[in-house]
Symmetry: C2
């Protein structure tokens, strides 16, 4: 998998997480605290700079009280898959 | 997050992935090849022994041509969240 698509996938997750956090009126500080992350680390996840692990995705989901399925956009997935298969 | 719940979360993902693979009539060898993983590594993911990264979850989703949201069971998530909050 090339770097371009990796970055896009990480950004996609970060964008979804950020949207959910803002919809719930939560600050990064608060979510980071609930997850047990440094705020800078949490911020870098929202910015799509990290290849976050399953367990850390769950920590965020628990902190936001939102199922992980809502972190992934199925329409965007189809576009990624198409792009991926074209390579 | 304690070890018990970590293991349960990893197992939950592995179980979902395995079910989708079997429903599609695919062998572990084939999915591992598509992902670029050794078969033993792929098998350990299905067994829930790995804290797999976002990018590797995507590789599996692309290999199975199935959106990531289908890897996570929302009902089970609620149970995990309840268990997690009890701790």
């Amino acid at each position: 998998m090339d770097t371009e698509i990796r970055k896009a996938l990480q950004k996609s997750l970060g964008k979804c997480i950020k949207k959910i956090r803002l919809d719930k009126g939560l600050k990064q500080n608060e979510v980071a605290r609930r997850c047990g992350f440094y705020k800078s680390n949490y911020n870098s996840i929202e910015l799509g700079l990290r290849n976050v692990s399953l367990i850390n995705i769950y920590k965020i989901a628990f902190a936001l009280e939102e199922p992980i399925s809502s972190f992934f956009d199925d329409v965007e997935f189809s576009q990624f898959l198409e792009h991926y298969n074209d390579k």
